[in-house]
Amino acid sequence: MKSRLKRVNRRRPKHTLAVSTVIANMMMITITLGLAAILIAWTGSTYGLFTSGSQIFYTQRGQAMQERLTIENTFFNTTGTNRRLLIFVRNDGAEEANIVAIYINGINFGTTGSGGSCNVPVTIPVGNVCEFNVNFQSLSPSPKTGDTLYVIVASARGNRATYTVRIYIPGT
């Protein structure tokens, strides 16, 4: 009996490991590499979004910064019942400017009258000037000599050129 019990007690320690040491190490390395890959992929995408977003932001801001609009002159071309204002807009910046809207006293005059050299929307190359012919007859109350027009020329990049001019209608 004694000899049989000793034999049993001696065998037990040989079978306590669930997996071998090599397999355990390989599993640990695999798991670690997997998690690392996931982490790197996540951070990479995050960083990528961050970098591309910042690049777009700074590029657009830089372009907007380089855009310079100047309303260098206005002229009332009022014949008959037409109440038209010629607006001369020059791009003095280093980027071409896309004019998308012209406001007079808060009203968007998207379509300009005939006779001007440009109609909105229009892209003004660097150093060029555009002549917009705005028919402001639709303003209410009807414009008359002495009224003030507040002109805003807006670009697609969010820049504005402003100008204030007092109406002069010959003969009135």
């Binding site: 790197i40 960083y47 280093a94």
Partner: protein
């Protein structure tokens, strides 16, 4: 052997590589963003620098502003058969060079340079714009004259109209401000002025000139003229000297109207002399005094012309003060004899009674004569119509001395008279 036994270095290396990878990727992102930010900041700096340069620009038109000569025609380029040539005089007051990119001219008057020459299209009533051109072209300016050096004085920018288009008042017409001229620079600045230049004083009016006026004072009646009242040197005068019993006051740079009239050449009187005349000379009665004239300059700011005749009520000079005791600081003068002696307009003296048509935005000199035999008071112009602006007033005298031909200055035995005497 320990490495193979423990196997820790492998995991440490792998961990280190992972950490290093994360760190480097974050660093590269930061570097990339910093580069983007630097690029943006450099753009901001550049544009701020451009703004500073733009704000530093300072162009100023200088006399004569524009120069035009009908003989200055150009037949080059597309100027067919010819173009009229104008010269714009401009100074750069800044320490930075300026490139002119466009010139706008808007005329508020439609008179031709030749005042009605046939075939002349007049003025830029519909706004003229002049761009740069390497060769003469109608409604262009020479690109070679577009750049104004830093601190350059009286730079000449040459521009052209066509052969039928001239600006109002291109040749002296006595008017001013008929053309609004805007000069646009490449940095987006706009400098504007009006031409012909408004007068800044009587001495700049084209129909006035200067000369030496000698005023002689005769006798020593009561109260008479006391030479001790005259300072040693007066503004624009040389003080008094005594010549052969006649006390003379000399004004070497006196201003006079160049064109003669029925009243002789008219001289603007030194303010000091004027006051002295009125204070010392005139209170004595008698008809033997030099005539004193009052000159009033008014500007027609109405939309259309005004016609001046002797009967214009607003041309009357009124004298509300009827006692010989003027208040300190007021201009003391005798009442006005006639309503209007004449007008000076467009370089010509017109005797009252004839009509003088004064165009819009032009000035005219109204000449009144003082009646010496009257009361003392302040001068006023009453019933001035709206749109007529009072610009200035001065006193004048003529160059007739005793024995002259005018009825108001005929005596030679004046006791206390004041003479404008050439031989004094």
């Amino acid at each position: 052997m320990r490495i193979w036994r423990k196997r820790r270095a492998v995991s440490s290396m792998i961990g280190g590589i992972i950490v290093l990878t994360l760190f480097l990727s974050a660093l590269s992102v930061m570097v990339f963003i910093s580069q983007q930010y630097d690029t943006y900041q450099s753009t901001v700096e550049t544009m701020n620098h451009n703004d500073i340069n733009a704000f530093s620009e300072n162009l100023m038109a200088v006399y004569p502003g524009l120069y035009f000569n009908s003989n200055q025609t150009v037949t080059q380029g597309t100027c067919n058969p010819y173009c009229y040539q104008y010269v714009l005089y401009i100074s750069n007051e800044a320490a930075i060079g300026t490139q002119i990119t466009r010139i706008y001219i808007n005329s508020t008057d439609t008179r031709p340079y030749s005042q009605g020459a046939a075939g002349q299209t007049v003025g830029c009533g519909n706004l003229c714009s002049f761009d740069s051109s390497s060769a003469p072209q109608p409604f262009h300016f020479l690109a070679s004259s577009a750049f104004v050096n830093p601190s350059e004085f009286s730079h000449q920018v040459i521009f052209y109209t066509n052969n039928t288009y001239t600006l109002p008042c291109s040749q002296a017409c006595g008017a001013y401000g008929l053309n609004s001229i805007a000069v646009v620079t490449s940095r987006g600045r706009v400098f504007s002025f009006q031409w012909p230049f408004p007068p800044t004083g009587v001495s700049t009016v084209s129909y006035l000139t200067t000369g030496v006026m000698q005023i002689a004072y005769l006798g020593s009646g009561n109260p008479g003229y006391a030479s001790t009242n005259e300072p040693a040197a007066v503004s624009r005068g040389s003080g008094g000297t005594s010549v052969a019993g006649i006390y003379c006051h000399s004004e070497p740079n006196a201003t006079k109207v160049a064109t003669g009239s029925a009243y002789g050449t008219l001289w603007f009187v030194n303010p000091w002399a004027t006051l002295t005349i009125f204070k010392d000379a005139f209170p004595l009665s008698g008809a033997n005094h030099t005539q004193i004239f009052v000159v009033v300059e008014v500007t027609n700011n109405q939309g259309g012309p005004i016609v001046i005749t002797r009967g214009n009520m607003w041309l009357q000079l009124t004298v509300p003060q009827t006692q010989n005791n003027p208040s300190p600081g007021s201009m003391v003068i005798l009442t006005i004899g006639g309503p209007l002696v004449g007008t000076y307009y467009n370089g010509a003296f017109t005797i009252a009674g004839s009509q003088t048509t004064v165009a819009s935005l032009t000035s005219v000199l109204l000449v009144y004569r003082i009646n010496i035999w009257s009361w003392v008071g302040n001068i006023q112009i009453s019933q001035v119509p709206s749109g007529v602006t009072f610009s200035g007033m001065a006193t004048m005298t003529n160059d007739q001395e005793g024995g002259g031909t005018t009825a108001y200055f005929s005596g030679t035995s004046a006791l206390d008279g004041l003479y404008v005497k050439s031989g004094c």
